[in-house]
């Protein structure tokens, strides 16, 4: 670490230093994992609308075939990681802390791994910016850092507001995870190539790749690869959690702050993960869609921690079995990193596009314990990267006043968990915030539903009134017709009448 970086690191007034545990896997090269018999592919593996299935149970599919199409503007298609038969489309357990099920396509693997005909592109740099974004979207690429925002949607942000800088996030500040580190060390050319392609799609003039200083080999490798383009600068970041959070990264590398509730594109910066960049390069050059990803398998309970390249849809249990199984009692299963990842209720869930790691932590590693009262030491406030007052917000939420917590900036909370990590009283601060955000969202949903019900009721009463009016009009029309007919009959009778009396008169005369 250089002197300036050290000083910059000292100048940072937020963040924590969780124990890294990266050595468990940082020297493990990414190895391909053998295919399992069955892959479960959830339709919602990304932020936005779930994908719409294009196949039916019983269909035979090939590797790379599109199984589900994009379900909206912010959505992403889904492709078959290998050849096989569609066994079912239905609700299956998905990686989520609730342990609930969601719609998924189940692929029975045939083991032949026959591909469709891919269309490789030898020089993707010659493609038009729109075409790059289109191919990235068609390839089903989403943010691989864990947020799973469809990458192509972010690539077209340049059209709305000018983007001058593409930031590549090589922070990987979560403990245990090392798959981004390995990707940068093993395929630095792909990372740099993907970054240049994305910058072309965005119209960004400069590319900054930020890598935490605890990955010196990755910095070295990417620096060497980046020498081909003077627009790229590789910067070392202080190793401090949450450096890999978009807002912190943008502020550290550009000095500008992302507006509250806004996107970094509003200040001309777009952030992508290094893994996403490598995948964009691969998808564009080979024409093969995103069907596999690199992830870290780690934790003290794992017999053989590793970095694997697995097919999307592989079950977590199969991955653990591949890594020699568990040799210790597991206190907690986590998907993603231990700070922001999600707790898994079980291992019978598939790996999705956003899974950067699967961890089996022993009870000792998982930590926890009972919370004691807050002494208002304000350590949480000093580590909060956004500058919020977590202890105050948690107290309000505990008292059932989530609205008041919003006034203190609850919506700006990025959920990094630094506050809960540092709390000496072990108060589950980030749990309070997740709960409050969820209940506020539920209240918002109720409000929207009530509004739509009001509209429906109004529409119904309008309709009933209209129908009643139409009925009344029809009745009036019929009555008028009847009366007209009666009048006509009377008229006819009257017309006929004079002749009749005349006849009688004649008779009478």
């Amino acid at each position: 670490m250089g002197f300036t970086e050290l000083m910059a690191g000292i100048g940072l007034r937020w963040g924590v230093h969780p124990q890294g545990h990266k050595r468990l896997t940082s020297e493990c090269a990414i190895e391909p994992m053998v295919l399992t018999e069955r892959l479960v592919l959830p339709l919602a593996q990304h932020i936005g609308a779930p994908a719409r299935p294009l196949v039916a149970p019983g269909d035979r599919v090939l590797r790379g075939q599109r199984l589900a199409e994009s379900g909206g503007v912010v959505s992403s298609p889904l492709h078959a990681p290998t050849s096989g038969r569609i066994a079912d489309i239905g609700d299956y357990p998905v990686p989520h802390p609730s342990g609930l099920s969601a719609p998924a396509i189940v692929l029975q693997v045939d083991g032949l791994d026959r591909p469709i005909d891919f269309e490789p592109c030898p020089d993707p740099h010659a493609l038009a910016p729109d075409e790059i974004a289109r191919r990235v979207a068609a390839g089903g690429v989403v943010g691989l850092g864990g947020a799973t925002f469809p990458a192509a949607v972010k690539l077209s942000l340049g059209k709305r507001s000018p983007v001058h800088t593409l930031l590549l996030n090589g922070g990987e500040c979560e403990p245990y995870l090392s798959c981004d580190d390995r990707t940068m060390r093993e395929q630095p050319q792909a990372v740099v190539d993907g970054a240049r392609l994305m910058a072309r799609a965005l119209g960004a003039r400069s590319i900054v790749i930020g890598i935490e200083s605890n990955k010196p080999r990755a910095i070295e490798a990417v620096r060497a690869a980046a020498a081909i383009d003077p627009a790229i600068s590789v910067r070392s970041l202080p190793s401090r959690y949450p450096m890999g959070s978009e807002k912190q990264l943008v502020t550290y590398l550009t000095g500008a702050e992302v507006p509250a509730g806004g996107l970094s594109a509003e200040i001309g910066v777009v952030v992508h993960n290094v893994g996403t960049a490598a995948e964009v390069s691969r998808v564009l050059r080979s024409g093969e869609p995103l069907t596999h990803r690199a992830l870290t398998v780690s934790g003290q309970a794992i017999s053989r921690p590793a970095n694997l390249r697995v097919a999307i849809g592989t079950s977590v249990a199969d991955i653990f079995a591949h890594c020699g199984g568990l040799h210790d009692e597991v206190g907690r299963y986590v998907m993603g990193g231990p700070m922001m990842g999600m707790v898994l209720p079980g291992t019978n869930v598939p790996v999705v596009k956003g899974s950067s790691g699967v961890l089996a932590l022993t009870a000792e590693e998982a930590g926890g314990g009972t919370a004691s009262p807050c002494i208002r030491c304000a350590r949480c406030a000093s580590v909060c990267p956004i500058g919020l007052l977590p202890f105050e917000m948690a107290a309000l939420i505990r008292a059932g006043r989530a609205e008041a917590a919003v006034d203190l900036g609850l919506k700006d909370c990025i959920g990094c968990g630094s506050c809960a990590y540092t709390c000496p009283a072990r108060i589950p601060l980030s749990h309070y915030f997740s709960h409050a955000k969820g209940s506020l969202a539920a209240a918002e949903r109720t409000r929207l539903k009530n509004d739509s019900i009001k509209q429906l009721t109004a529409a119904r009463s309008d309709r009933l009134a209209r129908e009643a009016q139409q009925k009344a009009e029809a009745a009036a029309r019929r009555r008028a017709e009847r009366e007209a007919a009666k009048r006509q009959a009377a008229q006819a009778a009257a017309d006929a009448a004079p002749s009749a009396p005349a006849a009688t008169s004649e008779v009478g005369a």
């Binding site: 919602a44 998905v94 609930l100 955000k437 009530n450 019900i453």
Partner: protein, 174 residues
């Protein structure tokens, strides 16, 4: 005598003028509390509160003879809004006990009589004569009018299913 009458008349006229101008100038509409409360309510006239429609409920709320938690479809969100409007504190415990439900049609019993969708206050049921009816979850308030009128008991009220879309973290145990 004349002076007294004139001055008193003058004073009375001036004061009357001032009062008249002030009444126009500083005019405040009488509080339209009932109307405002009714605007907050869903307006589906479902009758789950026990009052004759939403206007009856609004009147009862304004008279303080009904609790702010009276409207089950509105949920805690509405109860809080009503409490804020009336300046009272809401005890949401009563609402928590009664989870919101939605109607479902058991297709094997439904005879397609169309009675249920004629009474549905939000047009949440669709179907046609002699065809199976079905409920649109998004529009159903769980008022139960359809369940009451169904001749074959094919409509049942069930608790709202938990999905990934509406699941949220419970509060940590304090």
């Amino acid at each position: 005598m004349l002076v007294a009458v004139t001055s008193l008349t003058l004073i009375a006229t001036c004061l009357g003028l001032i009062l008249g101008i002030a009444a126009r100038r500083f005019h405040v509409d009488p509080p339209q509390l009932v109307a405002e409360l009714e605007a907050l309510l869903p307006g589906s006239q479902c009758g789950q509160c026990g009052y004759p429609g939403c206007s009856g409920a609004a009147q009862a709320l304004a008279d303080r003879s009904a609790p702010v938690t009276l409207c089950p479809p509105g949920g805690p969100e509405l109860a809080t809004a009503l409490a804020a409007k009336l300046g009272v504190s809401a005890d949401l415990g009563a609402l928590a006990a009664r989870a919101p439900g939605i109607a479902i049609v058991r297709e094997e019993i439904c005879i397609g009589c169309t009675k249920c969708f004629k009474v549905c206050p939000t047009d949440a049921i669709h179907g046609a004569m002699k065809q199976i009816h079905s409920v649109m979850k998004e529009a159903c308030t769980g008022c139960g009018k359809c369940a009451d009128i169904c001749p074959t008991e094919a409509v049942a009220l069930v608790p709202l299913p938990t999905t990934l879309g509406n699941w949220c973290w419970l509060a940590p145990e304090a």
